[in-house]
Amino acid sequence: MSEQAKRQKTLRIGSGAAWWGDRVEPAGLNAEQGELDYLCFETMAEATVSAAQVRARRDPGFAGYDTYLDDRMRAVLPGCMRQGTKIISNQGWINPQGAAERIVELLRELGISGVKVAAVGGSLITERVLALAPTIMENGQPTATLKDTLISAEAYMGAEPIVQALREGAQIVVTGRVADPSLFLAPMMHEFGWDALDHEKLGAGNGIGHLMECGAQVTGGYFSDPGLKDVPDPWNFAFPIAEVEPDGSVVISKVAGSGGAVTLQTVKEQMLYEVHDPANYLTPDVVVDFTQSKLEQIAPDRVRVTGLTGKPRTPTLKVSMGCTEGFIGEDMFFYAGPGALRRAQLARKILEERFKIVKLEAEDLRIDFLGLNAIHGAATPPDAPEPYEVAVRVAARTKTREQALKVGREVDGMAVSGVAHTGKRVPHQERTREVIGVWSSLVPREQVQAQIVHFTS
Protein backbone atom coordinates (compact mmCIF):
# COMPACT_ATOMS: atom_id res chain seq x y z
CA MET A 1 0.00 0.00 0.00
CA SER A 2 1.23 3.45 -0.89
CA GLU A 3 2.62 5.49 1.98
CA GLN A 4 1.47 8.73 0.41
CA ALA A 5 -1.71 10.41 1.56
CA LYS A 6 -4.58 8.96 -0.43
CA ARG A 7 -6.06 11.36 -2.88
CA GLN A 8 -9.72 12.26 -2.31
CA LYS A 9 -10.40 14.53 -5.26
CA THR A 10 -11.16 13.79 -8.91
CA LEU A 11 -8.32 12.33 -10.96
CA ARG A 12 -8.14 13.48 -14.59
CA ILE A 13 -6.64 10.94 -17.01
CA GLY A 14 -6.45 11.65 -20.73
CA SER A 15 -5.83 9.43 -23.72
CA GLY A 16 -2.91 10.18 -26.04
CA ALA A 17 -3.21 7.39 -28.61
CA ALA A 18 -5.35 4.33 -29.34
CA TRP A 19 -2.82 2.62 -31.59
CA TRP A 20 0.51 3.11 -33.31
CA GLY A 21 -0.93 4.84 -36.38
CA ASP A 22 -3.22 7.17 -34.45
CA ARG A 23 -3.19 10.96 -34.88
CA VAL A 24 -0.75 12.96 -32.80
CA GLU A 25 -2.57 16.30 -32.69
CA PRO A 26 -5.36 15.27 -30.23
CA ALA A 27 -2.67 14.13 -27.76
CA GLY A 28 -1.22 17.65 -27.92
CA LEU A 29 -4.71 19.09 -27.37
CA ASN A 30 -5.19 16.93 -24.27
CA ALA A 31 -1.72 17.86 -23.00
CA GLU A 32 -2.34 21.59 -23.42
CA GLN A 33 -6.03 21.94 -22.56
CA GLY A 34 -7.07 18.77 -20.74
CA GLU A 35 -5.88 19.93 -17.29
CA LEU A 36 -4.69 16.38 -16.85
CA ASP A 37 -3.04 14.61 -13.98
CA TYR A 38 -2.01 11.78 -16.32
CA LEU A 39 -1.78 11.28 -20.08
CA CYS A 40 -1.73 7.63 -21.23
CA PHE A 41 -0.67 6.30 -24.64
CA GLU A 42 -1.71 2.91 -26.06
CA THR A 43 0.36 2.10 -29.16
CA MET A 44 0.54 -1.69 -29.36
CA ALA A 45 -2.09 -3.66 -31.22
CA GLU A 46 -1.90 -7.44 -31.01
CA ALA A 47 0.43 -7.77 -34.01
CA THR A 48 2.57 -4.66 -33.39
CA VAL A 49 5.25 -6.45 -31.37
CA SER A 50 5.66 -9.29 -33.85
CA ALA A 51 5.99 -6.77 -36.67
CA ALA A 52 8.62 -4.97 -34.60
CA GLN A 53 10.50 -8.23 -34.03
CA VAL A 54 10.49 -9.00 -37.75
CA ARG A 55 11.82 -5.54 -38.50
CA ALA A 56 14.49 -5.86 -35.81
CA ARG A 57 15.73 -9.09 -37.40
CA ARG A 58 16.10 -7.45 -40.80
CA ASP A 59 17.20 -3.97 -39.74
CA PRO A 60 19.83 -3.88 -36.99
CA GLY A 61 19.41 -0.08 -36.84
CA PHE A 62 15.72 -0.34 -35.80
CA ALA A 63 15.35 1.17 -32.35
CA GLY A 64 12.60 -1.28 -31.31
CA TYR A 65 10.16 1.29 -29.91
CA ASP A 66 7.25 3.31 -31.34
CA THR A 67 8.45 4.77 -34.64
CA TYR A 68 6.33 7.88 -33.89
CA LEU A 69 7.72 8.31 -30.38
CA ASP A 70 9.55 11.54 -31.25
CA ASP A 71 6.42 13.09 -32.80
CA ARG A 72 4.23 12.09 -29.88
CA MET A 73 6.61 13.22 -27.17
CA ARG A 74 7.45 16.53 -28.86
CA ALA A 75 3.71 17.24 -29.05
CA VAL A 76 3.04 16.65 -25.35
CA LEU A 77 6.22 17.03 -23.28
CA PRO A 78 6.21 20.83 -23.00
CA GLY A 79 2.55 21.04 -21.88
CA CYS A 80 2.71 17.99 -19.61
CA MET A 81 5.95 18.92 -17.88
CA ARG A 82 4.84 22.55 -17.40
CA GLN A 83 1.56 21.48 -15.79
CA GLY A 84 2.88 18.50 -13.84
CA THR A 85 1.00 15.94 -15.93
CA LYS A 86 2.57 12.50 -15.66
CA ILE A 87 2.86 10.32 -18.76
CA ILE A 88 2.29 6.57 -19.01
CA SER A 89 3.00 4.96 -22.35
CA ASN A 90 3.56 1.51 -23.83
CA GLN A 91 5.59 3.02 -26.66
CA GLY A 92 8.57 0.95 -25.47
CA TRP A 93 7.45 -2.02 -27.63
CA ILE A 94 10.42 -4.43 -27.60
CA ASN A 95 12.91 -1.89 -26.21
CA PRO A 96 11.44 0.14 -23.31
CA GLN A 97 14.88 1.14 -22.05
CA GLY A 98 15.77 2.54 -25.47
CA ALA A 99 12.48 4.44 -25.49
CA ALA A 100 13.17 5.88 -22.03
CA GLU A 101 16.66 6.97 -23.10
CA ARG A 102 15.21 8.64 -26.21
CA ILE A 103 12.60 10.47 -24.09
CA VAL A 104 15.42 11.73 -21.85
CA GLU A 105 17.24 13.03 -24.95
CA LEU A 106 14.08 14.78 -26.14
CA LEU A 107 13.56 16.36 -22.71
CA ARG A 108 17.13 17.67 -22.80
CA GLU A 109 16.61 19.02 -26.34
CA LEU A 110 13.60 20.91 -24.98
CA GLY A 111 15.68 22.20 -22.07
CA ILE A 112 13.62 20.32 -19.47
CA SER A 113 15.94 18.88 -16.85
CA GLY A 114 15.43 16.80 -13.73
CA VAL A 115 12.51 14.75 -15.08
CA LYS A 116 12.47 11.13 -13.93
CA VAL A 117 11.71 8.59 -16.65
CA ALA A 118 11.21 4.89 -15.87
CA ALA A 119 11.35 1.96 -18.27
CA VAL A 120 9.24 -1.10 -17.44
CA GLY A 121 10.46 -4.26 -19.17
CA GLY A 122 10.08 -7.95 -18.53
CA SER A 123 7.14 -8.70 -20.80
CA LEU A 124 9.28 -10.44 -23.45
CA ILE A 125 9.44 -14.14 -22.60
CA THR A 126 10.36 -15.58 -26.00
CA GLU A 127 13.09 -17.86 -24.65
CA ARG A 128 10.90 -19.33 -21.92
CA VAL A 129 7.42 -19.47 -23.40
CA LEU A 130 7.48 -23.05 -24.70
CA ALA A 131 8.47 -24.29 -21.25
CA LEU A 132 5.94 -22.07 -19.41
CA ALA A 133 2.88 -22.26 -21.64
CA PRO A 134 1.67 -25.76 -22.52
CA THR A 135 -1.28 -25.12 -24.83
CA ILE A 136 -2.29 -22.82 -27.68
CA MET A 137 -5.64 -21.25 -26.75
CA GLU A 138 -7.04 -20.99 -30.28
CA ASN A 139 -6.60 -24.62 -31.37
CA GLY A 140 -5.75 -26.64 -28.25
CA GLN A 141 -2.45 -27.82 -29.77
CA PRO A 142 0.76 -27.96 -27.68
CA THR A 143 2.85 -24.77 -27.95
CA ALA A 144 5.78 -27.05 -28.80
CA THR A 145 4.35 -27.20 -32.33
CA LEU A 146 5.47 -23.55 -32.72
CA LYS A 147 9.11 -24.36 -31.92
CA ASP A 148 10.45 -23.78 -35.44
CA THR A 149 8.37 -20.71 -36.30
CA LEU A 150 8.27 -18.70 -33.06
CA ILE A 151 9.65 -15.16 -33.40
CA SER A 152 8.57 -13.56 -30.16
CA ALA A 153 6.34 -14.03 -27.14
CA GLU A 154 5.15 -11.33 -24.81
CA ALA A 155 3.10 -11.65 -21.68
CA TYR A 156 0.48 -9.00 -21.00
CA MET A 157 1.60 -7.45 -17.71
CA GLY A 158 -0.82 -5.59 -15.46
CA ALA A 159 -0.75 -2.22 -13.74
CA GLU A 160 1.43 -3.15 -10.75
CA PRO A 161 4.93 -2.47 -12.20
CA ILE A 162 3.74 0.95 -13.43
CA VAL A 163 2.39 1.71 -9.95
CA GLN A 164 5.78 0.72 -8.52
CA ALA A 165 7.61 3.01 -10.96
CA LEU A 166 5.29 5.90 -10.00
CA ARG A 167 5.86 5.17 -6.32
CA GLU A 168 9.61 5.32 -6.98
CA GLY A 169 9.16 8.85 -8.30
CA ALA A 170 8.80 8.44 -12.07
CA GLN A 171 7.05 11.28 -13.91
CA ILE A 172 7.12 9.40 -17.21
CA VAL A 173 6.74 5.63 -17.40
CA VAL A 174 7.37 3.83 -20.69
CA THR A 175 6.63 0.11 -20.92
CA GLY A 176 6.72 -2.93 -23.18
CA ARG A 177 3.63 -5.14 -23.40
CA VAL A 178 1.12 -4.10 -20.75
CA ALA A 179 -2.60 -4.77 -21.12
CA ASP A 180 -4.22 -1.67 -22.59
CA PRO A 181 -6.68 -0.87 -19.75
CA SER A 182 -3.94 -1.40 -17.15
CA LEU A 183 -2.13 1.71 -18.45
CA PHE A 184 -5.10 3.73 -17.16
CA LEU A 185 -5.66 1.70 -14.00
CA ALA A 186 -2.11 2.32 -12.76
CA PRO A 187 -2.58 6.02 -11.93
CA MET A 188 -5.86 5.26 -10.12
CA MET A 189 -4.15 2.61 -7.96
CA HIS A 190 -1.26 4.95 -7.26
CA GLU A 191 -3.29 8.06 -6.48
CA PHE A 192 -6.23 6.50 -4.65
CA GLY A 193 -4.15 3.84 -2.88
CA TRP A 194 -6.24 0.99 -4.32
CA ASP A 195 -4.91 -2.41 -3.35
CA ALA A 196 -3.89 -4.89 -6.05
CA LEU A 197 -6.36 -7.42 -4.62
CA ASP A 198 -9.33 -5.02 -4.29
CA HIS A 199 -11.20 -6.59 -7.22
CA GLU A 200 -14.19 -4.27 -7.02
CA LYS A 201 -12.10 -1.09 -7.36
CA LEU A 202 -9.77 -2.66 -9.89
CA GLY A 203 -12.76 -3.86 -11.90
CA ALA A 204 -14.01 -0.28 -12.03
CA GLY A 205 -10.54 1.00 -12.91
CA ASN A 206 -9.91 -1.44 -15.72
CA GLY A 207 -13.45 -0.93 -16.97
CA ILE A 208 -12.66 2.79 -17.21
CA GLY A 209 -9.35 1.88 -18.87
CA HIS A 210 -11.29 -0.15 -21.42
CA LEU A 211 -13.50 2.87 -22.21
CA MET A 212 -10.34 4.99 -22.69
CA GLU A 213 -7.91 2.63 -24.41
CA CYS A 214 -9.26 3.14 -27.93
CA GLY A 215 -8.98 6.92 -27.87
CA ALA A 216 -11.54 8.62 -30.09
CA GLN A 217 -13.68 5.48 -30.35
CA VAL A 218 -15.51 6.69 -27.23
CA THR A 219 -15.66 10.34 -28.36
CA GLY A 220 -17.46 9.64 -31.63
CA GLY A 221 -14.40 8.72 -33.69
CA TYR A 222 -15.82 5.40 -34.82
CA PHE A 223 -19.48 6.24 -34.86
CA SER A 224 -20.74 8.45 -37.72
CA ASP A 225 -23.33 6.83 -39.97
CA PRO A 226 -24.78 9.78 -41.89
CA GLY A 227 -28.47 10.36 -41.33
CA LEU A 228 -28.69 7.85 -38.47
CA LYS A 229 -25.79 8.60 -36.15
CA ASP A 230 -24.22 11.98 -36.77
CA VAL A 231 -21.52 13.71 -34.75
CA PRO A 232 -20.33 17.32 -35.06
CA ASP A 233 -17.02 18.30 -36.70
CA PRO A 234 -15.79 14.77 -37.39
CA TRP A 235 -12.51 16.16 -38.77
CA ASN A 236 -11.51 17.39 -35.35
CA PHE A 237 -11.97 14.49 -32.91
CA ALA A 238 -10.56 14.85 -29.42
CA PHE A 239 -9.22 11.94 -27.40
CA PRO A 240 -11.22 11.25 -24.22
CA ILE A 241 -10.65 12.35 -20.66
CA ALA A 242 -11.69 10.21 -17.69
CA GLU A 243 -12.63 12.18 -14.57
CA VAL A 244 -12.32 9.44 -11.97
CA GLU A 245 -13.61 9.60 -8.39
CA PRO A 246 -11.99 7.70 -5.52
CA ASP A 247 -14.99 5.32 -5.42
CA GLY A 248 -14.36 4.19 -9.00
CA SER A 249 -17.15 6.12 -10.67
CA VAL A 250 -16.21 8.20 -13.69
CA VAL A 251 -17.30 10.90 -16.10
CA ILE A 252 -16.07 10.43 -19.67
CA SER A 253 -15.55 13.82 -21.30
CA LYS A 254 -13.38 15.67 -23.79
CA VAL A 255 -11.81 19.08 -24.30
CA ALA A 256 -14.43 21.75 -24.97
CA GLY A 257 -14.68 22.97 -28.55
CA SER A 258 -13.33 19.78 -30.10
CA GLY A 259 -15.21 17.63 -32.63
CA GLY A 260 -17.09 14.44 -32.02
CA ALA A 261 -19.40 13.69 -29.10
CA VAL A 262 -19.56 11.75 -25.85
CA THR A 263 -23.04 10.24 -25.64
CA LEU A 264 -24.72 7.21 -24.12
CA GLN A 265 -24.40 5.57 -27.53
CA THR A 266 -20.70 6.21 -28.06
CA VAL A 267 -19.91 5.00 -24.53
CA LYS A 268 -22.05 1.87 -24.85
CA GLU A 269 -20.41 0.94 -28.16
CA GLN A 270 -16.96 1.24 -26.62
CA MET A 271 -18.01 -0.64 -23.49
CA LEU A 272 -18.53 -3.88 -25.42
CA TYR A 273 -15.78 -3.31 -28.01
CA GLU A 274 -13.60 -6.45 -28.23
CA VAL A 275 -15.39 -7.87 -25.17
CA HIS A 276 -16.79 -11.39 -25.20
CA ASP A 277 -18.70 -12.10 -22.00
CA PRO A 278 -19.58 -8.65 -20.59
CA ALA A 279 -19.74 -10.09 -17.06
CA ASN A 280 -16.25 -11.59 -17.32
CA TYR A 281 -13.75 -9.44 -19.21
CA LEU A 282 -10.32 -10.87 -18.43
CA THR A 283 -7.44 -8.52 -17.72
CA PRO A 284 -4.15 -9.17 -15.90
CA ASP A 285 -5.33 -7.18 -12.86
CA VAL A 286 -8.92 -8.28 -12.44
CA VAL A 287 -11.97 -9.79 -14.17
CA VAL A 288 -14.15 -6.82 -15.14
CA ASP A 289 -17.96 -6.98 -14.89
CA PHE A 290 -19.72 -4.44 -17.11
CA THR A 291 -23.21 -5.81 -16.56
CA GLN A 292 -23.94 -3.90 -13.33
CA SER A 293 -22.92 -0.50 -14.68
CA LYS A 294 -25.24 2.47 -15.14
CA LEU A 295 -24.74 5.19 -17.73
CA GLU A 296 -26.11 8.71 -17.44
CA GLN A 297 -25.76 11.71 -19.76
CA ILE A 298 -25.24 14.49 -17.21
CA ALA A 299 -24.38 17.27 -19.67
CA PRO A 300 -23.42 17.57 -23.33
CA ASP A 301 -20.27 15.48 -23.93
CA ARG A 302 -20.29 14.24 -20.34
CA VAL A 303 -21.39 10.67 -19.55
CA ARG A 304 -21.22 9.38 -15.99
CA VAL A 305 -20.60 5.67 -15.50
CA THR A 306 -21.21 4.08 -12.11
CA GLY A 307 -21.43 0.47 -10.97
CA LEU A 308 -18.42 -0.87 -12.86
CA THR A 309 -17.07 -3.73 -10.78
CA GLY A 310 -14.93 -6.84 -10.92
CA LYS A 311 -14.05 -10.29 -9.69
CA PRO A 312 -10.72 -11.72 -8.49
CA ARG A 313 -7.96 -11.96 -11.09
CA THR A 314 -6.91 -15.24 -12.68
CA PRO A 315 -3.65 -17.00 -11.70
CA THR A 316 -2.36 -16.72 -15.27
CA LEU A 317 -1.35 -14.00 -17.70
CA LYS A 318 -2.15 -14.06 -21.39
CA VAL A 319 0.82 -14.35 -23.70
CA SER A 320 0.89 -13.44 -27.38
CA MET A 321 3.17 -15.49 -29.64
CA GLY A 322 4.20 -14.22 -33.08
CA CYS A 323 5.17 -16.92 -35.58
CA THR A 324 6.30 -16.98 -39.19
CA GLU A 325 3.53 -18.50 -41.25
CA GLY A 326 4.48 -18.20 -44.87
CA PHE A 327 3.53 -15.45 -47.29
CA ILE A 328 0.61 -13.60 -48.85
CA GLY A 329 0.54 -12.61 -52.51
CA GLU A 330 -2.07 -9.98 -53.35
CA ASP A 331 -2.95 -7.88 -56.37
CA MET A 332 -5.83 -6.01 -57.97
CA PHE A 333 -7.23 -4.90 -61.34
CA PHE A 334 -10.38 -3.15 -62.50
CA TYR A 335 -13.46 -3.19 -64.72
CA ALA A 336 -16.03 -0.47 -65.35
CA GLY A 337 -19.00 0.35 -67.52
CA PRO A 338 -21.74 -1.93 -68.88
CA GLY A 339 -20.99 -5.60 -68.28
CA ALA A 340 -18.23 -4.83 -65.75
CA LEU A 341 -19.31 -7.61 -63.40
CA ARG A 342 -19.58 -10.20 -66.19
CA ARG A 343 -16.03 -9.39 -67.29
CA ALA A 344 -14.81 -9.58 -63.71
CA GLN A 345 -16.45 -13.00 -63.37
CA LEU A 346 -14.71 -14.22 -66.52
CA ALA A 347 -11.40 -12.83 -65.23
CA ARG A 348 -11.90 -14.81 -62.03
CA LYS A 349 -12.56 -17.99 -64.01
CA ILE A 350 -9.40 -17.39 -66.08
CA LEU A 351 -7.30 -16.89 -62.95
CA GLU A 352 -8.71 -19.99 -61.29
CA GLU A 353 -7.72 -22.04 -64.35
CA ARG A 354 -4.30 -20.33 -64.57
CA PHE A 355 -3.57 -21.14 -60.94
CA LYS A 356 -4.18 -24.84 -61.74
CA ILE A 357 -1.83 -24.64 -64.72
CA VAL A 358 0.98 -22.97 -62.74
CA LYS A 359 0.28 -25.29 -59.77
CA LEU A 360 -0.29 -22.59 -57.18
CA GLU A 361 -0.11 -24.24 -53.77
CA ALA A 362 -2.31 -21.99 -51.62
CA GLU A 363 -3.31 -22.51 -48.00
CA ASP A 364 -6.13 -20.10 -48.70
CA LEU A 365 -7.23 -18.21 -51.83
CA ARG A 366 -9.74 -15.42 -52.32
CA ILE A 367 -10.87 -13.68 -55.47
CA ASP A 368 -13.15 -10.81 -54.42
CA PHE A 369 -15.07 -8.21 -56.38
CA LEU A 370 -14.58 -4.85 -54.70
CA GLY A 371 -17.79 -2.90 -54.94
CA LEU A 372 -19.92 -6.04 -54.74
CA ASN A 373 -18.97 -8.75 -52.24
CA ALA A 374 -15.41 -8.11 -51.04
CA ILE A 375 -16.32 -7.11 -47.49
CA HIS A 376 -19.18 -9.34 -46.40
CA GLY A 377 -18.53 -12.28 -48.72
CA ALA A 378 -21.22 -14.89 -48.27
CA ALA A 379 -23.29 -12.48 -46.19
CA THR A 380 -23.74 -10.12 -49.16
CA PRO A 381 -27.44 -9.98 -50.13
CA PRO A 382 -27.91 -12.18 -53.21
CA ASP A 383 -29.91 -9.45 -54.96
CA ALA A 384 -27.24 -6.74 -54.60
CA PRO A 385 -27.42 -4.47 -57.68
CA GLU A 386 -24.80 -4.76 -60.41
CA PRO A 387 -22.10 -2.16 -59.76
CA TYR A 388 -20.88 0.30 -62.40
CA GLU A 389 -17.29 -0.48 -61.50
CA VAL A 390 -15.65 -3.53 -60.00
CA ALA A 391 -12.13 -4.22 -58.82
CA VAL A 392 -10.99 -7.83 -58.84
CA ARG A 393 -8.80 -8.58 -55.86
CA VAL A 394 -6.78 -11.75 -55.75
CA ALA A 395 -5.07 -12.95 -52.59
CA ALA A 396 -3.41 -16.25 -51.69
CA ARG A 397 -1.64 -17.41 -48.57
CA THR A 398 1.18 -19.81 -49.29
CA LYS A 399 4.01 -21.60 -47.52
CA THR A 400 6.81 -20.07 -49.62
CA ARG A 401 7.59 -16.71 -51.19
CA GLU A 402 7.96 -18.40 -54.60
CA GLN A 403 4.36 -19.62 -54.43
CA ALA A 404 3.05 -16.20 -53.34
CA LEU A 405 4.84 -14.51 -56.24
CA LYS A 406 2.63 -16.50 -58.64
CA VAL A 407 -0.34 -14.30 -57.75
CA GLY A 408 1.28 -11.14 -59.09
CA ARG A 409 2.71 -12.99 -62.11
CA GLU A 410 -0.70 -14.29 -63.15
CA VAL A 411 -2.34 -10.90 -62.68
CA ASP A 412 0.38 -9.38 -64.88
CA GLY A 413 -0.56 -11.90 -67.54
CA MET A 414 -4.13 -10.63 -67.47
CA ALA A 415 -2.92 -7.29 -68.88
CA VAL A 416 -2.82 -8.61 -72.46
CA SER A 417 -4.13 -12.19 -72.14
CA GLY A 418 -7.35 -11.63 -70.25
CA VAL A 419 -10.63 -9.85 -70.73
CA ALA A 420 -11.71 -6.73 -72.62
CA HIS A 421 -11.31 -3.34 -70.92
CA THR A 422 -9.07 -4.56 -68.10
CA GLY A 423 -7.76 -1.70 -65.98
CA LYS A 424 -4.31 -2.45 -64.63
CA ARG A 425 -3.34 -2.58 -61.01
CA VAL A 426 -1.67 0.29 -59.20
CA PRO A 427 2.03 0.10 -60.13
CA HIS A 428 4.83 -0.45 -57.64
CA GLN A 429 2.45 -1.90 -55.07
CA GLU A 430 3.99 -4.30 -52.59
CA ARG A 431 2.36 -7.51 -53.74
CA THR A 432 4.07 -10.14 -51.61
CA ARG A 433 4.50 -10.04 -47.88
CA GLU A 434 5.52 -12.31 -45.04
CA VAL A 435 2.78 -13.46 -42.64
CA ILE A 436 3.31 -13.24 -38.91
CA GLY A 437 0.58 -15.28 -37.28
CA VAL A 438 -0.37 -14.54 -33.70
CA TRP A 439 -1.27 -17.29 -31.22
CA SER A 440 -2.23 -16.99 -27.58
CA SER A 441 -1.52 -18.96 -24.45
CA LEU A 442 -1.47 -18.58 -20.67
CA VAL A 443 1.53 -18.50 -18.33
CA PRO A 444 1.61 -18.57 -14.51
CA ARG A 445 1.71 -14.91 -13.42
CA GLU A 446 4.60 -15.42 -10.98
CA GLN A 447 6.82 -16.44 -13.91
CA VAL A 448 6.71 -12.94 -15.37
CA GLN A 449 8.87 -10.48 -13.47
CA ALA A 450 8.84 -6.81 -14.40
CA GLN A 451 12.17 -4.99 -14.58
CA ILE A 452 12.16 -1.28 -13.80
CA VAL A 453 15.04 1.01 -14.74
CA HIS A 454 15.11 4.72 -13.89
CA PHE A 455 16.65 7.61 -15.85
CA THR A 456 16.74 11.38 -15.24
CA SER A 457 16.83 14.15 -17.84
Binding site: E46, A47, S50, M137, E138, Y222, D225, P226, G227, L228, K229, D230, Q265, K268, E269, Q270, M271, L272, Y273, E274, V275, H276, D277, P278, A279, F290, T291, Q292, S293, K294, L295, G307, E325, I328, E330, D364, L365, R366, D368, L370, A374, I375, H376, G377, A378, A379, P381, R393, A395, A396, R397, V435, I436, G437, V438, S440
Partner: protein, 120 residues
Protein backbone atom coordinates in the same frame (compact mmCIF):
# COMPACT_ATOMS: atom_id res chain seq x y z
CA UNK B 1 -51.59 -6.56 -32.83
CA UNK B 2 -50.14 -5.99 -36.27
CA UNK B 3 -46.44 -5.64 -36.83
CA UNK B 4 -44.19 -4.16 -39.47
CA UNK B 5 -40.87 -5.53 -40.78
CA UNK B 6 -38.03 -3.05 -40.60
CA UNK B 7 -34.28 -3.29 -40.99
CA UNK B 8 -32.25 -3.57 -37.81
CA UNK B 9 -30.57 -0.22 -38.54
CA UNK B 10 -33.81 1.47 -37.46
CA UNK B 11 -33.87 -0.42 -34.16
CA UNK B 12 -30.26 -0.67 -33.06
CA UNK B 13 -26.68 0.45 -33.60
CA UNK B 14 -23.77 -1.95 -33.72
CA UNK B 15 -20.00 -2.19 -33.36
CA UNK B 16 -17.61 -5.07 -33.99
CA UNK B 17 -14.29 -5.88 -32.36
CA UNK B 18 -11.65 -8.54 -32.98
CA UNK B 19 -9.72 -11.02 -30.89
CA UNK B 20 -7.73 -13.61 -32.81
CA UNK B 21 -10.05 -15.38 -35.27
CA UNK B 22 -13.13 -14.32 -33.29
CA UNK B 23 -15.28 -11.27 -33.94
CA UNK B 24 -17.68 -9.82 -31.42
CA UNK B 25 -20.56 -7.82 -32.76
CA UNK B 26 -22.48 -5.84 -30.17
CA UNK B 27 -26.03 -4.72 -30.94
CA UNK B 28 -27.45 -1.79 -28.94
CA UNK B 29 -31.15 -0.93 -28.92
CA UNK B 30 -31.70 2.77 -29.60
CA UNK B 31 -34.47 2.80 -27.00
CA UNK B 32 -34.98 0.59 -23.94
CA UNK B 33 -38.47 -0.33 -25.21
CA UNK B 34 -36.92 -1.87 -28.33
CA UNK B 35 -34.51 -4.14 -26.45
CA UNK B 36 -37.04 -6.97 -25.85
CA UNK B 37 -37.56 -7.21 -29.63
CA UNK B 38 -33.84 -7.84 -30.06
CA UNK B 39 -33.80 -10.42 -27.29
CA UNK B 40 -36.72 -12.32 -28.79
CA UNK B 41 -35.91 -12.13 -32.47
CA UNK B 42 -32.15 -11.78 -32.88
CA UNK B 43 -31.11 -15.21 -31.62
CA UNK B 44 -27.60 -16.62 -31.99
CA UNK B 45 -28.94 -19.14 -34.52
CA UNK B 46 -30.54 -16.44 -36.68
CA UNK B 47 -27.44 -14.28 -36.40
CA UNK B 48 -25.27 -17.11 -37.70
CA UNK B 49 -27.71 -18.06 -40.45
CA UNK B 50 -27.90 -14.43 -41.63
CA UNK B 51 -24.15 -14.39 -42.31
CA UNK B 52 -24.24 -17.69 -44.25
CA UNK B 53 -20.70 -19.11 -44.76
CA UNK B 54 -19.07 -15.82 -43.66
CA UNK B 55 -19.03 -17.16 -40.09
CA UNK B 56 -17.65 -20.69 -39.95
CA UNK B 57 -17.72 -21.40 -36.22
CA UNK B 58 -20.02 -21.24 -33.24
CA UNK B 59 -21.91 -18.04 -32.37
CA UNK B 60 -22.52 -17.28 -28.69
CA UNK B 61 -24.89 -14.56 -27.50
CA UNK B 62 -24.40 -12.61 -24.28
CA UNK B 63 -26.89 -10.18 -22.79
CA UNK B 64 -26.01 -6.81 -21.30
CA UNK B 65 -29.50 -5.72 -20.30
CA UNK B 66 -28.14 -2.79 -18.29
CA UNK B 67 -27.18 -1.06 -21.54
CA UNK B 68 -29.91 -2.72 -23.64
CA UNK B 69 -27.36 -4.62 -25.68
CA UNK B 70 -26.70 -8.10 -27.01
CA UNK B 71 -23.14 -9.21 -27.71
CA UNK B 72 -22.59 -11.87 -30.38
CA UNK B 73 -19.27 -13.69 -30.24
CA UNK B 74 -18.66 -15.24 -33.66
CA UNK B 75 -15.88 -17.81 -33.82
CA UNK B 76 -14.15 -18.32 -37.15
CA UNK B 77 -15.37 -15.02 -38.57
CA UNK B 78 -12.00 -13.41 -39.37
CA UNK B 79 -10.35 -15.70 -41.91
CA UNK B 80 -7.78 -16.97 -39.41
CA UNK B 81 -7.13 -13.70 -37.59
CA UNK B 82 -5.89 -10.24 -38.47
CA UNK B 83 -2.40 -11.03 -39.74
CA UNK B 84 -3.04 -14.28 -41.61
CA UNK B 85 -6.46 -13.41 -43.02
CA UNK B 86 -6.95 -12.85 -46.73
CA UNK B 87 -10.09 -10.85 -46.01
CA UNK B 88 -9.97 -7.26 -47.20
CA UNK B 89 -11.54 -6.24 -43.89
CA UNK B 90 -9.12 -8.36 -41.89
CA UNK B 91 -10.07 -6.85 -38.52
CA UNK B 92 -13.75 -7.44 -39.26
CA UNK B 93 -14.38 -3.76 -38.51
CA UNK B 94 -17.10 -3.65 -41.17
CA UNK B 95 -18.73 -6.90 -40.04
CA UNK B 96 -21.01 -4.95 -37.72
CA UNK B 97 -22.64 -3.31 -40.74
CA UNK B 98 -23.96 -6.52 -42.29
CA UNK B 99 -26.40 -7.32 -39.50
CA UNK B 100 -27.99 -3.85 -39.86
CA UNK B 101 -29.85 -5.41 -42.79
CA UNK B 102 -31.48 -8.09 -40.59
CA UNK B 103 -35.27 -7.74 -40.52
CA UNK B 104 -37.09 -7.22 -37.24
CA UNK B 105 -40.85 -7.40 -36.69
CA UNK B 106 -41.90 -4.28 -34.81
CA UNK B 107 -45.38 -3.90 -33.23
CA UNK B 108 -47.18 -0.82 -34.50
CA UNK B 109 -47.16 0.79 -31.08
CA UNK B 110 -43.38 0.89 -31.13
CA UNK B 111 -42.98 2.31 -34.64
CA UNK B 112 -42.58 5.89 -33.33
CA UNK B 113 -39.51 4.67 -31.39
CA UNK B 114 -37.63 3.71 -34.56
CA UNK B 115 -34.81 5.73 -36.06
CA UNK B 116 -35.35 7.07 -39.55
CA UNK B 117 -32.28 7.78 -41.62
CA UNK B 118 -32.41 11.51 -42.28
CA UNK B 119 -31.86 12.68 -45.88
CA UNK B 120 -28.48 14.25 -46.62
Amino acid sequence: MSTQKVRLEQVAHTRSGDKGNTSNIAVFAYEPELYPLLREQLTAERFKAFHREAITGEVLRYEAGNIHALNFVAHGALGGGVSRSLALDNYGKALSAAILGFEIEVPEALLPRLRQRQPA
